[in-house]
Symmetry: C2
Subunit: 348 residues, 2 copies
């Protein structure tokens, strides 16, 4: 997978400085520490240590270090790896955030509250010469998409709905192909993905006119054998977010896409009355609209999120779906031969 | 057509105060005064007078008045009806803009430079208690789209490309149906349309995540016989702007759409290598994606922009297209029986 520190950051794309100190705040529920746990799982090489308040009861399993100690050990950023209800920054965190800045670390967050809107942090960062990076904040001066074809190959994960494994699938495919020795990069289009990759653009936070342009910027020209595996967003069948999905599809101009689906989900998230579409419908629609910017677009396979199914139920669902569609189908979390066949199709 | 002054403005939608004094600056080319001329043609009841610098050579045909005189005669806003290269505000305009503020008028613009970013204007407006309204600036606190069906009926103009008559067509249909006594409102999704309607949202300036939500806000619940005629944006076949078009389509959940097309245009604007699609393809795609939020969506007819064709060529193209598609087809600028048949279909 692509190591951001190995190449100069591209204009307009967030570029985070690794290694990270993961800040766990006062978290007592694993659900609120998903970002930290995702970083530990997918960007272990970027994670040096963790730092928590005494009230915290969870750990990412990394060595505990104060910001000062982490900076001395080489850390370059402290990443806020926890969310809390409302996405605000509680007063109890402030001394730790200020300590990180004083230690010379960049502060990185993907919360609703912007770090740069908190005067005490802004002033401290100005004094210390460090950066406050809100990864949901899009870069300034984004281009309008041109639709011009770029060199290299691209794969996009698309979904039957939101929040069912598009990021996880893209990361698993990128990691799997990297392990096979392929020239591959994960391209992040959302906040946690950006922290994992060390760079990227939160496409849903970009002004609509520039969203496809941002997606073009995200996966630039590359060598003919290089594959960008691009994290998808939303769903063409989601009444709130389909425009985000379309901008990402058109700007990514993918050669291949993988449909991500959760068999146990019947209703579209947050939109009562909207049913999750059939995988077949997503394939057909993705090709129908995606061929505008890449006439050769095709479906490489299906990623099923079988969380909440038993081992046997999941295996049956995977086998049935593969047979019904005639496409490689796997749950990346289960892995196994099915996932190797999906990787074969992505590498083809 | 809807008169914004007759009903309280809706939360989150720009609400301009009429009547307007049209500011023509120092314009010497009609092309740069398109906004003023559009306002004169489509919002004559809102246009009280015009004001130009001595260097100007063009006129909108309205009585000339200074800001002071216009305010005394009842004007409530001065609308910058001219653009210049680069979209900036030249120094020569400043005394007139300050005079308008001093006279108690709101200042309204749709330029790239935001009025609120010019300290002298901001300070003057604060002192005078008047508003600086940048109509391209989206309202704050827009909602995420819900996809919930709304009451009333809706028609959206869609295009084979950008900038070929979607606003004009929507205005002509709304005016034509209003003349027939129908309960109809024009809904503006772009800057000039907003000035004409007195309210609206520039959808392309909204953050992608909220674009469909903004479109939902634009055409709210209405009585069962009411028809909103919504100004379209971009094209589903434009590689830069299709996401804007899709957000507007999903959020508008139109019952009917009219395809706008310019027969003399072969290439998509600004995207070399992209051909203007067939009208048939636009109909099929609009239904394929639009049925997500309104399963009953259908095409009411076609609006052809025959500018640049002779009278005879235009008439032949209109007749041929109508026959080929089996749909009412007209050029609203030509009007005539063909346009009345298109209005019949929009009223049905």
């Amino acid at each position: 997978m692509r190591d951001a520190s190995a190449s100069p950051p591209r204009a307009g794309v967030h570029a985070l400085a690794a290694p990270y100190l993961l800040f766990l705040g006062d978290a007592t529920e694993r659900g609120f520490a998903k970002t930290a746990l995702g970083l530990r799982d997918w960007a272990a090489d970027k994670c040096l240590a963790e730092h928590a308040l005494p009230a915290a009861t969870i750990s990412a399993g990394l060595p505990p270090m104060t910001p000062e100690a982490a900076a001395a050990a080489g850390a370059r950023s402290m990443v806020i790896g926890v969310a809390n209800r409302g996405g605000v920054i509680p007063a109890a965190w402030m001394p730790e955030l200020l300590a990180a800045i004083a230690a010379g670390l960049d502060l990185v967050a993907g919360l609703h509250t912007r770090l740069g809107d908190i005067p005490a942090l802004r002033d401290a960062a100005l004094r210390a010469g460090t950066r406050l990076i809100d990864v949901r904040e899009p870069p300034s001066a984004l281009p309008i998409a041109t639709g011009a074809r770029r060199t290299g190959r691209r794969l996009l994960t698309v979904g039957t709905d939101c929040a069912l494994g598009k990021k996880y699938t893209a990361l698993a495919i990128a990691r799997g192909l990297h392990a096979r020795g392929q020239d591959v990069a994960f391209r992040a289009s959302g906040q946690t993905g950006i922290m994992i990759a060390g760079e990227g653009i939160a496409i849903d936070a970009v002004v609509a006119d520039f969203a496809a342009g941002a997606a073009e910027l995200l996966s630039p020209d590359a060598s003919p054998t290089h594959l960008d595996v691009i994290e998808g967003q939303g769903s063409l069948f989601h009444p709130s977010y389909a425009a985000v999905s379309l901008a990402l599809l058109h700007g990514s101009q993918p050669d291949l896409f993988v449909v991500c689906h959760q068999p146990t989900r019947a209703q579209i998230l947050g939109s009562p009355g909207y049913r999750v579409p059939l995988i077949e419908a997503v394939i057909q629609q993705t090709i129908a609209v995606g061929r505008l910017t890449n006439p050769a677009i095709r479906c490489a396979g299906v990623s099923l999120n079988t969380a909440g199914m038993t081992e046997g139920e999941g295996a049956t669902e995977i086998a049935r779906t593969a047979e019904r569609l005639g496409l490689p189908t796997a749950d990346p979390i289960r892995g196994g031969d099915a996932f190797e066949r999906l990787l074969d199709a992505c590498a083809a």
